[in-house]
């Protein structure tokens, strides 16, 4: 009987396994100087993942943490806008690609920095036009891996990853980045969001991804004129409890959160005295306590 696959040692020189291992090793080396890696996620779109990521980054950076943000939403990147680094040119050195730098020294990597203009969608060159969509997903995974590995992040206390909507995104990221510390789940107090988020939470659990807790965004409307808070969506009861997650905070709706984000200025820093900023700081505090239980700045 001729030799079978497993009888042959090595890979006959295609060197693919060795390259995959080498690539994993480079990712590990890069991530070794990043103390904590946390994904901001939700099954649902438009619930405020990106704006919360930007504000969390700003609050922790203002407290002296060295923070990086990776915009893992390659098709709908918004972090560069929210952290005011759009249009920055990146520098290449022997250590890799240096991330854009936002206020408070926040280091940012985003596909937005590479796309031709405001209207350019993310497309990949493919040898055949049909291939373009077929391979989209694997090209995106490849690009995400490169952003993690080839960005000269430097020493970071925290790398926040802003995920695109969709339940499989967090498990997929955990495959790519095995030492991801966990995910922060974002929802809004609407029935449909809870339903979609519940499925995403379940999927993450079956994949063994650690979930730090739940943030309820747009929970109540803060009237900018009279300062009173009203309900935006209705629907009562603790969403966190229903999902079996730690409640991490309820962030009220405040139109200035959106207008600051659009100007690239983190709201929590620009309006520190509002109810929503207070809630954002409490959220950051709970995350910090979770990441550094021993206390201290880091």
């Amino acid at each position: 009987m001729p030799k079978r696959y497993r009888d042959i040692v090595g890979d006959g020189g295609s060197n693919i396994l060795a390259q995959v291992e080498e690539r994993q090793a480079r990712l590990r080396t890069r991530m070794a100087s990043v103390r904590k890696k946390v994904a901001v996620t939700s099954g649902k779109g438009g619930v405020g993942k990106s704006v919360l990521t930007a504000n969390l980054a700003a609050i922790l950076a203002a407290e002296g943490w060295r923070v990086g943000v990776l915009d893992a939403d390659l098709n709908g990147p918004s972090i560069a806008q929210f952290l005011g680094v759009r249009g920055q040119r990146l520098r290449l050195s022997s250590d890799g690609v240096h991330p854009a730098e936002g206020s408070l020294g926040i280091r940012v990597m985003s596909m937005d920095l590479f796309l031709r203009d405001d209207r350019a969608p993310l497309t990949w060159e493919a040898p055949s036009p049909q291939g373009s969509f077929v391979w989209r997903e694997s090209m995106e995974a490849s690009a995400l891996r490169e952003f993690l590995t080839d960005t000269a992040w430097g020493e970071l206390d925290l790398l926040l990853l802003d995920l695109p909507p969709g339940a499989p995104r967090l498990p997929a990221l955990a495959d790519l980045l095995p030492d991801l510390d966990g995910g922060l789940v974002v929802t809004i107090p609407s029935e449909v969001s809870r339903l979609v988020v519940a499925r995403a939470v379940e999927l993450a659990r079956t994949h063994g991804v650690e979930l730090f807790g739940l943030v309820e965004n747009m929970a109540g409307y803060l009237c900018p004129t009279c300062g009173s808070t009203g309900d935006l969506f209705g629907g009562e009861g603790s969403a966190a409890e229903a999902l079996g997650l730690q409640p991490l905070g309820r962030i009220p709706f405040d139109p200035r959160i959106a207008s600051c984000a659009d100007r690239g200025s983190p709201y929590a820093v620009e309006h520190p005295d509002t109810e929503a900023s207070q809630a954002l700081r409490e959220l950051a505090g709970r995350l910090r306590a979770r990441l550094s239980p021993e206390g201290g700045a880091r």
Partner: protein, 140 residues
């Protein structure tokens, strides 16, 4: 994927890798005992599958940081990631990407020739347009 020389019952080894050329890679394997050779010719989908894994058949020099992003992005912002060579000449990310699509052995020569062409014209930046111009004048 491994290749076995059936006559000798010996695993074959990679002898050479060429491409990608029009989306196809040719990988030649040879038997260390009898010298028999076979070539594996990939179709564009297979080439792209391997590429999307972030690896190259047969190994070879890594293409530098953000290789996929620099070389495979459809519409790329000019100047997002410009590379300056030793002589201070700037290769735009698109030009660099174009260069990376040449077979590895052809790159150093092409780079030198285009750099010379640019300097002779007093230019400080290499763009894909300049590369086209160079080629239309009989370069490469």
């Amino acid at each position: 994927m491994k290749f076995l020389c059936v006559g000798c019952d010996e695993p074959m080894g990679v002898r050479s890798v060429e491409g990608p050329d029009l989306g196809s890679v040719s990988v030649t394997f040879g038997c260390p005992v009898c010298g028999h050779q076979v070539s594996l010719l990939t179709n564009p989908a297979e080439t792209q599958l391997v590429r999307s894994l972030g690896v190259k058949i047969g190994g070879g020099s890594p293409g530098g940081p953000l290789e996929t992003v620099r070389t495979a992005l459809g519409e790329q912002r000019e100047g997002a990631l410009d590379v300056k060579d030793e002589a201070g000449l700037v290769w735009t990310a698109a030009a660099e990407g174009r260069l990376q699509r040449l077979p590895p052995i052809a790159r150093p020569m092409a780079r030198m020739a285009i750099a010379r062409y640019a300097r002779e014209r007093g230019l400080t930046t290499v763009t894909p347009e300049l590369m086209d111009e160079y080629r239309s004048r009989g370069g490469f």
